[in-house]
């Protein structure tokens, strides 16, 4: 009888993913300092290596970057999530070729189960180069016996490439920690600050530092039972994973969400109730679509509005309320009704609202419906209508069919996101393809 193959995982991660996506269609951005800005062009959410070298940190507000650096030294772009989503799908489907199972962990990262795969390092080099050739996105691949080690290996692969000398050069781009002799592995762990470990947040990290630890090697050498007694099972799991004992499985299907949120900062301040109703209706519609996609029903709807906390000179206002539904539902009409009722209750005129949002709470599986004594029979099941609505919106574009209170689409809505620096939807819109000069 052959023994089970020992577990092995890879983490494939696109380098500076959003910036790399933009560079595929704007070669002139290569070699330049580039940042991608968050919704409403707020702050940096992706940086090219050149931007990092200028000292731009993740989350730096755009106005600060603009004021501190000479004009033209940084190219700032509004996030183009349609483009990133399509490039992500392409990348994930190529990365999936590395092993029998894949967990898509975020827009630019996926874990691959490598158990039973032979010649992993060579295969990883091959898949990495295929992603680079086929879609133009440079990646780092980390390989280890557990997901936590794969994540750490990925950090090593990327850092060794970006900062020569930080780790051995042959670990750049593809780092297989499982193939290293014990002494070399210790050296790599010694060179890694403990804050880089997946699962060690800022708070626990500080506690470990206060206890005299500094590197990943210090953490690996902790006694798991002691860690459990002093810090709890979460850190114990991380320590065991670092020691090569798999505790976190690959998650194939994302589990159903316990709460669905749709919130947005407005392009400019909103004061009128009717505009807020439009926004809240739109948010509820989107949240309801997500809810139906996971076959769920919501028991309560929370709605909130607030002014900008950054504009301290203006009167501040912030309110939220939760509206319970008579019966859990996934019907957009009923959810919008509840959200708008909540909004009317918390709205006060005379404030410049900067953000609003809707949370669907108390989510349950829609297929197990609770029997209930019908108190009034005016409520009909509009499941079919909802299904048709989702279908039309998917087929003909968001907003084809909407609740009347969402108002009209387009620029007349004055609460839409500010995206002054967005590149075209190169790969998802027939009218926005890139040009080739003949």
């Amino acid at each position: 009888m052959s023994a089970l193959p020992s577990p092995l995982f890879a983490l494939v991660d696109g380098n500076n993913f959003y910036v790399s996506c933009e560079r595929v269609f704007r070669p002139s951005l290569c070699g330049r300092a580039v940042v991608v800005l968050s919704n409403n062009d707020g702050c940096a959410i992706a940086r090219s290596n050149e931007s990092r070298a200028l000292g731009i940190k993740m989350g730096t507000p755009w106005f600060e970057i603009r004021d501190k650096l000479p004009e033209g030294s940084v190219v700032a772009l509004s996030a183009n999530f349609g483009l990133y989503g399509d490039m992500s799908n392409r990348m994930m489907s190529i990365a999936a070729g590395l092993g029998p199972e894949q967990e898509i962990y975020s827009i630019d990262e996926s874990f691959i189960d490598l158990s039973g795969v032979r010649d992993v390092t060579r295969r990883a080099v091959h898949v990495r180069s295929r992603i680079n050739t086929w879609i133009g996105i440079p990646c780092g691949v980390g390989i280890g016996q557990t997901k936590t080690l794969a994540k750490l290996a990925n950090h090593v692969a990327k850092t060794a490439e970006r900062k020569p000398g930080s780790y051995p050069d042959d670990l750049a781009q593809v780092a297989n920690l499982a193939a290293l002799p014990a002494s070399d592995l210790d050296a790599v762990l010694q060179a890694t600050e403990l804050g880089e470990i997946w699962g060690i947040g800022r708070r626990i990290g500080q506690q470990l530092k206060d206890a005299g630890l500094a590197t990943a090697l210090d953490v690996v050498r902790l006694d798991a039972a002691m860690v459990r007694a002093r810090w709890g099972v979460v850190l114990e799991r991380t320590v065991r994973e670092l020691q090569g004992m798999p505790c976190i499985d690959l998650e194939g299907q994302p589990s159903a969400k316990k709460e669905i949120a749709s919130t947005r900062s407005f392009g400019r301040p909103v004061t009128h109730l009717e505009h807020l109703i439009e926004a809240v209706t739109e948010f509820t519609q989107r949240a309801a679509e997500k809810l139906r996609r996971q076959d769920g029903v919501a028991g309560q709807v929370a709605v909130f509005v607030h002014t900008s906390p950054h504009r301290k000179e203006q009167p501040q206002y912030s309110r939220a309320t939760v509206v319970p539904l008579r019966k859990p539902t996934a019907d957009t009409g009923l959810l919008v009704q509840a959200a708008v009722r909540g909004l009317r209750a918390i709205y006060r005129p005379g404030f410049q609202m900067a953000k609003a949002g809707v949370h669907l709470l108390d989510l349950q599986d829609g297929s197990v419906e609770q029997g209930e004594l019908e108190l009034d029979d005016g409520v009909e099941d509009r499941g079919q209508l909802m299904h048709a609505m989702d279908h039309l919106n998917q087929r003909y574009g968001r907003g084809t069919v909407a609740m009347a209170s969402a108002g009209v689409t387009g620029t007349r809505r004055n609460w839409v996101m500010k995206q002054e620096r967005k590149t075209p939807d190169y790969t998802t819109c027939w009218a926005s393809m890139p040009f080739a000069i003949a």
């Binding site: 070669p27 002139s28 951005l29 290569c30 070699g31 392409r90 489907s93 190529i94 050739t133 086929w134 879609i135 133009g136 009909e380 509009r382 079919q384 209508l385 048709a388 039309l392 003909y396 084809t400 190169y426 790969t427 393809m433 890139p434 040009f435 080739a436 000069i437 003949a438």
Partner: protein, 150 residues
């Protein structure tokens, strides 16, 4: 404009019955009338995407601007199917980028260690990368789509 969608909603409540209701399984053939003579020749309709796109993840569409490739039947406004998974070779039509500039569509000429980009229109000179210039072959053009006004 899309035609209005008419949705049929149940008008009356359906009474509960304890007897099982037997329904034919969807997809089961209904045994009535004459069998279709095409039944045994069931085929999938031709799919243009399948024909034009060999490597879906690596394929991108680009719009042509200009007439330098007109003798290769690539016209202004056409849509190019560009495959990045194909290794560029001599005489391929390629999308290239010279020194991080615009995308350019030309014939690739690779002879005696020298690379040049050649137009399919005698009024355009060849592009020969100079010392120090970087020429990137972005992808290989596998088809060009011309749409006619109808």
């Amino acid at each position: 404009m899309c035609p209005p969608t008419i949705l049929l909603l149940p008008e009356r409540p359906v009474p509960i019955s304890l007897l099982p209701l037997i329904l034919p399984l969807a997809g089961d053939r209904v045994q009535a009338g004459f069998p279709s003579p095409a039944e045994d020749f069931n085929c999938k309709r031709i799919d243009l995407t399948e024909q034009l796109v060999q490597h879906p993840q690596a394929t991108f569409l680009l719009r042509v601007r200009g007439d330098s490739m007109k003798e290769a039947a690539i016209f202004d406004g056409d849509v190019l199917v560009v495959d990045r998974a194909i290794r560029p070779a001599h005489k391929h039509i390629v999308v290239a980028v010279l020194d991080g500039g615009d995308f350019t569509v030309k014939y690739l000429h690779k002879r005696a260690g020298q690379i040049r980009l050649v137009a399919a229109n005698p009024t355009y000179p060849d592009i020969v990368p100079r010392e120090g210039q970087v020429l990137e072959i972005w992808g290989v053009v596998t088809a060009s789509i011309t749409q006619f006004k109808t």
